[in-house]
C-alpha cells in the first residue's frame, strides 16, 4: 500500500447510499479509497450489506446515491479489470468442472491450448485436479466453492472481489488457498476486496480491514494491517498479529452493541 499512495485510487467510493426499491437503507454514507495493490477485507454482521457493497463496486447493482469509480471509470465500464467470486458458488449446472473454470477465458477469447493449461493449473491450486469431468451436482459444497475460486483466479483480474470464499472450506484447504492467494498476489499484485466472517483470515490477508455496522450498513472502524507482504504462515503465531486480531474482534463486537 505504501508504493501506491502516490497514484490515484483504484476504487473510490464516496457518499454511497443504497436501498433496494423502496426498502430501507442498506448502505448509508460509505466513503472509501483503495489504492492499487491493496487488499481490503470487509467484516460485519450478517445482512449488514457486505455483499451489496461488493456488488456495487462491480457494477452489478446501481447506487441509490453517491458515486463509485473504478480506475476513474464507472464500475460498468471497468468490468474488464474485475472478477467476482460469488457468495454462492454460482456454477453453471450444465458445464463440467473444467468447463466452468474455463468459461471466463472462453468468453474473453483465449485460445484453447493456453486455456486448457490454465484451467488445469487453477484446479491444481484449489485441490481439484481429478474432478475436471464432474458436474456441479456431483460436488460437495466446498468443492463447488473451490471451482468458483479457480474460475476467478484463472482470469488473473486486476481487481478481485471475493464474497466469503472460504466459509465452506476446512482449515487446511483454507490455509493452502490463502498462501496461494498471497503467492499469486506477489507475482500479479491484484487489488483485493474480501468479505469474510473469519477475523483471523481478514487480518492475515488484508492490508486494511473495514468493519461495517448494520441497519443501515456504515463503516464503524477501519483497521490498518501493517505487516509486510509476502506474509508467512508463522505470522499467525506472532504477538503483534494476535494483538491486532484482538483489536479487530473487539471492533466487530462493538458494532453489534451499538
Amino acid at each position: 500500500m505504501d508504493r501506491a499512495m502516490s497514484e490515484a485510487p483504484v476504487v473510490k467510493v464516496s457518499g454511497l447510499r443504497k436501498r433496494f426499491g423502496a426498502g430501507p437503507l442498506v448502505l448509508d454514507g460509505i466513503d472509501l479509497e483503495v489504492a492499487r495493490g491493496e487488499f481490503v477485507s470487509f467484516i460485519g454482521p450478517s445482512g449488514c450489506g457486505k455483499s451489496t457493497l461488493l456488488r456495487l463496486i462491480a457494477g452489478l447493482t446501481p447506487a441509490s446515491e453517491g458515486s463509485i469509480t473504478v480506475e476513474g471509470l464507472a464500475p460498468e465500464q471497468a468490468r474488464k479489470r474485475m472478477f467476482f467470486v460469488f457468495q454462492d458458488a454460482n456454477l453453471m449446472p450444465w458445464r463440467r468442472v473444467a468447463e466452468n473454470v474455463e468459461l471466463p477465458l472462453l468468453l474473453r477469447g483465449d485460445a484453447p491450448a493456453p486455456r486448457r493449461e490454465r484451467v488445469a493449473r487453477m484446479l491444481e491450486i484449489v485441490g481439484l485436479a481429478g474432478a475436471e469431468a464432474k458436474f456441479p451436482w456431483q460436488l460437495s459444497g466446498g468443492m463447488k466453492m473451490r471451482v468458483s475460486i479457480a474460475r476467478a483466479l484463472s482470469v488473473a483480474p486486476e481487481i478481485l472481489l471475493l464474497d466469503e470464499p472460504i466459509g465452506a472450506l476446512d482449515e487446511m484447504t483454507r490455509d493452502r488457498l490463502n498462501e496461494d492467494l498471497l503467492a499469486i498476489r506477489s507475482r500479479d499484485p491484484f487489488t483485493g476486496f474480501f468479505v469474510t466472517h473469519a477475523v483471523a483470515e481478514a487480518v492475515f490477508l488484508s492490508s486494511r480491514i473495514v468493519v461495517l455496522g448494520a441497519n443501515p450498513g456504515r463503516v464503524t472502524a477501519v483497521i490498518e494491517v501493517p505487516f509486510a507482504y509476502p506474509r508467512q504462515p508463522e505470522l499467525r503465531e506472532t504477538p503483534p498479529f494476535l494483538r491486532l486480531l484482538a483489536t479487530t474482534a473487539q471492533a466487530l463486537r462493538a458494532v453489534r452493541v451499538a
Binding site: 468490468r79 474488464k80 472478477f83 467476482f84 454460482n90 450444465w94 468459461l103 468468453l107 474473453r108 458436474f135
Partner: protein
Amino acid sequence: MSASSPSRLAAFLLPALTAVALILLWYAFKAVLQVPSFVLPAPHEIVAAAWEERTVLWSAALVTVRGALLGFTAAVTVGFLLAMALGFSPRIKTSFYPLILVLQMMPVTILAPIFVLWLGQGLPSIVAITFVIGFFPVVANTTMGFISVDRHLRELFVMCNATRAQEARYLRIPGAMPYFLTGMKIAGTLAPIGAIVGDFLAGSAQGGVGGIGYMTISYFSQLKTPALFATGLVACVMGFLFVGGVNWLHWRLLHSWHDSMVKKE
C-alpha cells in the same frame, strides 16, 4: 428416495400392457354399447384396413412426412430464433409478441388461401400451414426459458463482459433447453397434424394419391371408416417418430445435469 425411474424393460412393457388393456376395453366397449364398425371400427379391422391400403397409405405418408418434417424444422428454427429475439430484449418482446399471437390465433382456414396464392398449391403451402400450427409452442416455451434464466448466472456473465451473443450461446440457450425441448415436443405432436390439415387446405392429389389429409377426407367421404382410422394410425406413428426424436434429444442434452433427468441419489 421415492420411486426410481422404470427399467428399460419396463419402459417397453408398461405401455404395451396399458395398450393391451385399452384394446380389450375397446372391444368390450364396442360389444356392450353395440357401436357399429362404421363409427368405431375394432382394432383388428383398422389393422386389416391399414394392410389392405398399405401402398396408398405409404405413398400418402411419404407426402405428409415431407411436409411435416419441413414444417417442423421451420417451426422449431423460426420459433427458437424468434424466442431468442423476444427473450433478449423486453422492448422487442413488447413490440412483437402481440403480432406473433395474432399469427397463432388467426384460424388457418383464413390464412390458407393467402398461402396458396403466394406459394401455390402443394408442398410450400403445406409447410407454411404446418409451420403456423407448430411454431407458437416453441416460441412460448423458449421465450419463457430465456427470461427465466438464473439471475446469479446472468451476473456471472456480466462480470465476464460477455457479449449478447456469448450470453445467448453459453447461458441462455443451454439454460432454456428444458423449456425449449418441451415446446419442441409439443410442436412434434402438432407437426403431423399440421401437415394433414395443410394437405386438407392446400394439398392436391395427382393421380389420386395425396397426403394423409387427402386420404382422410377421401376415406371419410367413401365411408371407409376402418381405413379412415388407419390414416389416424399413420398420423400417430409419424407423431411418435417426431416425439421420439425430441425425447432422444432431451436425453442427450439434459441427462447429465438437469433435475428432470439426473438419477437422484
